[in-house]
């Protein structure tokens, strides 16, 4: 089956005013199939949100991209603004935003925003009973209570604002949903409800790219996990294997998981390198207990892990 989204050696760099260039994404490759949820995890500043912006064509002007990201026949990186605006955003890629409160227009009710989006993206017409039905259906789909439709965004709780934003994202029936840190600032119950709802929406025929630093949220709904570190995807693994047994194979991913409060709660020593001065070799080597001379070369992503000395499955079995 052909994947919904196929990202091939995607790189993004920013040209800064002083001639410095920032490598935000290096050589990212992954596929995303219908019915699948891929969680892209990593700490803030690792480049994961830049990757999302690149897929939506929303990079700032000083950004340069390389590689490709095919959504069907369209290369999202090569498409012009007109194509992106008229045919891609909302219609073929739905965005579930980071802060719904900022994403919704503060001076208009949820109903009017849904109605506008529906009349833009579908054939439900501009007014009349048909549109009203469509609005109700769209709200219902995201479990947004119908009696709150006439409220303004500031009158909604965080959870309801998130549902309103999700309802907007779902209107266009886009085959790809892109959720950029959809749970930041929400409390645990709400995080779980939000990601569960996202999971439910993708069903069998859509794909979800969940960008988050919340490993618990990723564990809850992801089929696969991509771990990003200093602009590179360092591990791409099955979620069950990653969070359960045999566990992560890249030392960084392993450290990140072990830092969780319900595991060892121990930080990885040191801090990630600057994206302006990435080392020539493996970017994690400076913090890695396993590093040796071979780490002076950047490891490619082989068999789901970009490391010269990955944890082997066998070692883990004996430990467990």
């Amino acid at each position: 089956m052909t994947p919904v989204l196929s990202v091939e050696r995607l790189s993004v760099r920013f040209r800064m005013r002083d001639g410095v260039s920032v490598r935000a994404v290096s050589d990212a490759s992954f596929d995303l199939a219908a019915g699948e949820c891929l969680a892209l995890v990593g700490e803030s500043g690792c480049g994961k949100s830049v990757l999302a912006s690149a897929l939506l064509g929303l990079l700032p002007e000083n950004a340069e991209t390389a590689g490709s990201a095919h959504l069907g026949d369209t290369d999202l990186l090569a498409a012009d603004e007109r194509t992106l605006a008229r045919r891609i955003r909302g219609r073929r890629v739905g965005l579930v935003p980071q802060s719904p409160a900022a994403h919704l227009t503060p001076v208009r009710t949820v109903r009017s925003q849904l109605a506008e989006t529906i009349s833009q993206l579908t054939r439900a017409g501009r007014r009349g009973p048909q549109l009203a039905t469509a609005v109700a259906a769209a709200a219902d789909r995201a479990a947004f209570p119908l009696d709150h439709l006439d409220r303004y965004p500031h009158e909604l709780s965080g959870g309801l604002a998130q549902r309103a934003a999700t309802a907007l994202a779902l209107v266009g029936d886009a085959p790809l949903l892109l959720a950029d840190e959809p749970t930041t600032g929400l409390d645990r119950d709400l995080v779980e409800r939000t990601v569960d709802e996202l999971r439910r929406h993708i069903g069998d025929d859509r794909a979800l790219l969940l960008i988050t630093h919340d490993l618990a949220a990723a564990e809850r709904i992801a089929d696969r996990v991509a771990v990003m570190y200093a602009s590179r995807i360092v591990e791409l693994a099955d979620a069950d294997a990653f969070f359960g047994s045999p566990g992560p194979r890249h030392p960084y991913a392993r450290g990140l998981l072990n830092a969780l409060p319900d595991r060892e709660f121990a930080p990885i020593p040191g801090m990630p390198p600057e994206l302006t001065t990435l080392p020539d070799g493996c970017a994690f080597a400076a913090r890695c207990a396993r590093a040796d001379d071979t780490c002076a070369w950047v490891p490619g992503l082989l068999d789901g892990v970009a490391c010269h000395h990955p944890e082997t499955a066998g070692a883990e079995v004996t430990r467990a």
């Binding site: 645990r188 630093h213 969780l260």
Partner: protein, 220 residues
């Protein structure tokens, strides 16, 4: 002992965010206050740090009642608290370098700062040229490390961490909690950590208090 007694506070007198809330933190203890977003726990944290004047109720710090709020609180009472907020971007003056940010409380009291800044930067793991940079040139995690260092600058007896790690990844979270705990081991400072992550607060704090219908259900 940090005592919040029958506190009623908010941003509109007719509809206070919290009413008649009582919470105590024993000397040297770490109390986690757990509640959903928007319940008023951050307001309570601001009241505790003398940053928000309540409509009613009292705050007693180590036996001494709070004598005012914000600028009206005596300097010694204000600086008994180190506060760390949720969003490092909003908590740092965008014009100050990280070193200036950490040194600011010492400068405000006209105290010598070079050695202390060095020491704090080491403690929170800010090395190299990071100290010379300004907030927009560092990541959220790095900036929050600086904000934590600033909170520790005057060696406060109480730490108030309001969702300190909500924006951070697991490793940075563990690192910052480690810094707070190390400081508490050295100085015996007390902690009020506000958050919504039960797993984290239960791992971090000796006692966690749940925010119920009417406020924290404190059984201590």
């Amino acid at each position: 002992m940090l005592e919040l007694l029958s506190v009623t506070a908010g941003y509109d007198r007719r509809a206070p965010v919290l009413s008649d809330v009582t919470l105590t933190v024993e000397p040297g203890a770490a109390v986690g206050l757990l509640g959903p977003s928007g319940c008023g726990k951050s307001t309570l944290a601001r009241v505790a740090a003398l940053l928000h004047e309540p409509y009613a109720g009292r705050v007693v710090i180590d036996g001494e009642p709070a004598r005012g709020w914000r600028h009206r609180a005596p300097r010694a009472q204000r600086t008994a608290f180190g506060v760390v907020f949720q969003q490092p971007r909003l908590s740092a003056d965008p014009r100050l370098s990280l070193a200036d940010l950490i040194a600011e409380p010492l400068r405000a009291g006209r105290l010598e700062h070079t050695a202390r800044v060095r020491e704090l930067a080491d403690a929170v793991g800010l090395g190299g040229d990071l100290l010379g940079r300004r907030p927009h040139e560092v990541s959220d995690g790095q900036l929050q490390r600086a904000c934590l260092a600033r909170a520790l600058t005057l060696r406060p007896r109480w730490l108030i961490c309001d969702e300190m790690t909500a924006m951070l990844d697991a490793s940075t979270t563990a690192a910052l909690v480690g810094v707070v705990e190390e400081y508490r081991r050295e100085t015996g400072a007390g902690l009020l950590a506000v958050g919504h992550d039960r797993v984290l607060l239960e791992r971090w704090c000796g006692r966690t208090v749940e925010w119920g219908e009417r406020g924290p259900a404190d059984d201590a």
